[in-house]
Symmetry: C2
Subunit: 215 residues, 2 copies
């Protein structure tokens, strides 16, 4: 268990540093393609409008594709690739610790960590974040919380994404929420669309409330 | 590396057994919710029509939801759950070896192993199969092959699924195929829909050709 203890020790160091600078940190997790980057792009634009300063740590096995989509928004983005270090399927706390060295921590209100697309392993690793958010998109199907329960137990919020596609799918948002609450009755669910902006008011309010609560 | 050697040794034993009985075995992998179970349900119905006998090993972290969807089709389905053994995010060759004991091997032409929904780790573990098929669905986005390359390098076929949704998405099947071929020029791509049956003739022909090639 040394590896996990070591990982948690670094995560605690990260958390202490983020608290010192008052940076509300969100670990964003999901299956591949659920819409994390699209959601982040619109979130950054909204935060910019409220003069709230944010940065992103972009976790991927390989490539800089997601960073390249966010950099034009004018916020600091640090890309972390696990491939050169064995291709871990989740972002580890040592990667976050390294990435923090590249950020001007005294100039940030929020930090988003976009984790690697994987509904299993990232849920097991604490990075030092204040909040853990799982993105679940309608096309994936209503049963995912029942089949991949750990992620839904470990998170504080679920963004039920791509709700703009509901008219074209045979799924019901109620059944998603029902299944989520069978696994974790306390998990808050916000229906959202990174494409159309539906649900963003509620998401932005949640972000501002959580920051006030933690810091 | 003992663990991987041990895993491969069992996989070789599985492969020898499957060859002895002439069972063409397909390891089906994808992100969560790409449509593996839906594809299998229609595939089983098609094989039943041609009097080809098949069975399924259903791999999941937890639950029997997928097995319950396939059992009504009248073929043997063995459910494997990794949760009681630590919650592995991929099916291992020892699980397959155990599951084979529950099957009447002299009565099978095909065996499908539905792997756990994860676009990363399952690609690293050989189970003894003849073919490895990755399902990639349109809603996940065109960039997945570039961001999760190992899976696309390790497979022999990609089923580009949910093409019935194309009119409602801003993606292009050509761009998916372009990105797949940047990672693995030899990976065959079949556009398909588990929901409507589009592309099934080509998929069924591929299955019958592969069986003839291997056995
Ligand atoms: N209709 C619809 N499509 C969306 C939405 N959000 C994202 N998409 C599409 O879904 C695909 C994947 O979106 P991404 O934002 O790249 O998803 P991701 O979770 O960041 O993916 P990875 O980082 O590779 O795991 C792309 O084709 C997007 O255009 C949405 O709210 N509605
Ligand atoms: N439109 C459309 N929806 C599909 C298709 N195939 C599957 N779905 C839907 O996609 C969701 C997930 O399908 P599943 O077959 O359960 O996917 P899976 O890959 O087996 O999921 P896991 O085993 O949990 O990883 C469900 O809501 C299905 O109805 C398809 O071809 N077209
Ligand atoms: Mg992304
Ligand atoms: Mg399934
Ligand atoms: Zn993994
Ligand atoms: Zn894993």
């Amino acid at each position: 268990r040394d590896v996990l203890e070591e990982s948690n020790a670094r995560a605690q160091e990260n958390h202490a540093l983020l608290n010192k600078f008052g940076i509300c940190t969100v670990n964003l997790m999901s299956s591949p393609g659920s819409g994390k980057t699209t959601l982040l792009a619109r979130t950054i634009s909204e935060l910019n409008k409220s003069a709230l300063r944010c940065a992103v740590i972009e976790g991927d096995i390989t490539s800089t594709l997601d960073s390249e989509r966010l950099q034009p928004l004018g916020v600091p983005v640090v890309q972390v690739n696990t491939d050169p270090f064995g291709g871990d399927c989740h972002v580890g706390s040592h990667f976050v610790q390294g990435a923090l060295k590249y950020l001007e921590l005294d100039k940030l209100d929020y930090l988003f960590i976009e984790n690697i697309g994987n509904l299993v392993c990232p849920a097991e690793f604490y990075l030092g974040e204040h909040e853990r958010v799982v993105v679940l998109s309608l096309p994936e199907g209503e049963d995912k919380p029942l089949k991949y329960p750990l992620m839904f137990r470990e998170c504080n919020l679920c963004l039920l994404n791509k709700v703009d596609l509901a008219p074209h799918l045979e799924v019901s948002a109620e059944r998603f929420t029902e299944n989520i609450h069978k696994i974790n009755g306390a998990l808050r669910v916000i229906s959202i669309s990174g494409k159309t902006g539906e649900g963003f008011e509620e998401w932005m309010t949640w972000l501002q409330t959580r920051r006030a609560d933690h810091l």
